[in-house]
Amino acid sequence: MPSAILRGLGRLAIAAAISFCLGSTPVRAEEIQVTIDNFTFAPAEVKVKVGDTVTWTNHDDIPHTVVSAGKFRSKTLDTDNAFSFTFTTAGDYKYFCSLHPHMTGMIKVE
C-alpha cells in the first residue's frame, strides 16, 4: 500500500480517536452514587468524567442539603430523598451541607 494512503488512514484513526476522547457523543456517561449516612458523605471524594451524573441519597433521619457555592444547590433532602447533578465542566467541586456545614465532600471532574 502506498505510504500516502497509510498516512491518510492514520489521520482518520487519530481523528476518530480525538472525537471519541472529546466525548462529542457521550457514549459512556456514568451514574455515580454518593450516600449520606451518619452526617457523612460517602465516598467523601469522587473522581468522575465530564458528562457523568452524581446522585446523592440521604439515609439519615435528619434532612440534609448538597451545596457547591455558585455551582449547584439541592433542595432540602428528607430521609431517602435524592438529588442528581450532571457535570459538564471539568474542575474540582467542593460541596457541603448548608444545615450541617461540618459535612463536606468533593467531586473531581476530569
Binding site: 451518619n38 452526617f39 433521619d61 435528619i62 434532612p63 430521609t79 444545615l99 456545614p101
Partner: protein
C-alpha cells in the same frame, strides 16, 4: 471554671446570684433570675413551691413538629405534653422563649400545628429560629410568622423586669466546614444594642446553636460566638440559653453561664457517644425522661438566675 453555687465565699462573685433559681426539669427549662447566675434547682413544681417571687420565664426548644421517625413517631404529641405541663404550673411564668427548630421541615402545616399547641400555654413567646425553620423554598414562613419587628434573619432585644434579653440568629449563611454563624452585621447590631447600657443590667442571650464550643466535630458551636461574648464582657450577669443539641449541658465561665435545654421531640447523643449527632432511639419508656422544658427565675437584688430543667417524665 468556678462553681456557681458557691457565690458567698467571694464578694466579687456575688453578682452572679442573679440567676439563682432555675428549675431543672425535662419539659422545658425553668429559669429564675435572682442575682446573676442560673442554677438548676430541681423540678418545675418544687422550684415554684420554693420561691415564686421575681421574674420567671420558660424555655422550650427543638419541637421539630413534623418529625415522625423511630426516635419519636409523634413529636407533636410530646410538644403537647410539654405545654400541658406548662399549663399546670402553680405560678404562671411571665413569658416563654423558644430557642428554635420549631418545625422539622419548615412546612406551613408544621408551623400551624406548632402554633396551635404552643398558644395553648397562653404566654407571650419570644422565638429565635433553628436551621430547620428556614427550609421552605422561599425561606419566608419563619419571617412571616415570627419575624415581626426583628432585624436581619430575626434577631432582636427586649427588656423585662430590669433584665435585658437578646435573641440572636446563628443558623444562616453557614460556611463549608464551619460552625454556627452570627455574621458581621448582627455583631455590629449587638454592640450597638449594648452600648451605654449599665454593666449591672442582667443580660440573657438566647440563640439556637450553642454560642460556646460544645463539640466542633458535630458542628456544635458558633464560629464567631466568642466575638459576641467579647461584647458582653464587663456585664455582671450574663446567661446564655441555647438548644440544638437536645440535651442539658451547663458551663460557668467567669460571670457567664451557658445552658442548653432539652428538646420536646427527640434526644441526641452526648458528644462523641455515637457515630453521629442524629436522633437517638431509646426505649419507649425512657423517651419522656429525655425530653423537657426549662424554667428560669430571676429575683431583683440577687445576681444569679436559677434554671430548672424538667423532664416530661421521671
Amino acid at each position: 471554671m468556678s462553681d456557681h453555687d458557691h457565690h458567698d465565699d467571694n464578694p466579687g462573685v456575688s453578682r452572679r446570684r442573679v440567676l439563682e433559681c432555675m428549675t431543672w426539669a425535662g419539659t422545658g427549662v425553668l429559669w429564675t433570675i435572682s442575682g446573676g447566675v442560673p442554677r438548676s434547682l430541681g423540678l418545675v413544681g418544687s422550684a415554684q413551691a420554693a420561691e415564686p417571687t421575681g421574674l420567671t420565664f420558660l424555655q422550650i426548644s427543638d419541637s421539630h413538629v413534623g418529625f415522625d421517625k423511630p426516635a419519636n413517631p409523634n413529636a407533636l404529641g410530646t410538644l403537647e405534653e410539654a405545654i400541658a405541663k406548662v399549663k399546670m404550673m402553680p405560678a404562671k411564668p411571665s413569658f416563654m422563649i423558644h430557642t428554635g427548630d420549631i418545625s422539622h421541615l419548615s412546612k406551613a402545616a408544621e408551623f400551624d400545628d406548632a402554633e396551635r399547641i404552643i398558644s395553648q400555654a397562653k404566654l407571650d413567646v419570644h422565638y429565635v429560629p433553628g436551621e430547620h425553620d428556614f427550609l421552605d423554598e422561599e425561606v419566608k414562613f419563619y419571617k412571616e410568622r415570627y419575624g415581626k419587628g426583628t432585624k436581619g434573619a430575626g434577631y432582636y432585644s427586649f427588656d423585662a423586669n430590669g433584665v435585658h434579653f437578646i435573641g440572636l440568629v446563628n443558623v444562616v449563611d453557614l460556611k463549608a466546614g464551619g460552625l454556627g454563624n452570627l455574621g458581621a452585621e448582627q455583631l455590629e447590631w449587638l454592640e450597638a444594642d449594648l452600648k451605654g447600657r449599665s454593666k449591672s443590667t442582667p443580660i440573657v442571650v438566647f440563640a439556637h446553636i450553642p454560642l460556646w464550643t460544645v463539640y466542633p466535630t458535630w458542628g456544635w458551636g458558633t464560629e464567631d460566638g466568642a466575638r459576641a461574648l467579647d461584647t458582653l464582657k464587663g456585664f455582671g450577669s450574663v446567661t446564655v440559653l441555647n438548644g440544638h443539641i437536645h440535651q442539658v449541658m451547663q458551663k460557668v465561665e467567669g460571670n457567664v453561664t451557658f445552658h442548653t435545654a432539652r428538646s420536646t421531640a427527640f434526644p441526641q447523643p452526648a458528644p462523641g457517644a455515637a457515630p453521629s449527632p442524629g436522633p437517638m432511639k431509646v426505649a419507649d419508656d425512657k423517651l419522656r425522661s429525655m425530653l423537657g422544658v426549662a424554667s428560669i427565675n430571676f429575683k431583683p437584688g440577687q445576681q444569679s438566675l436559677a434554671i430548672i430543667d424538667t423532664p416530661l417524665q421521671g
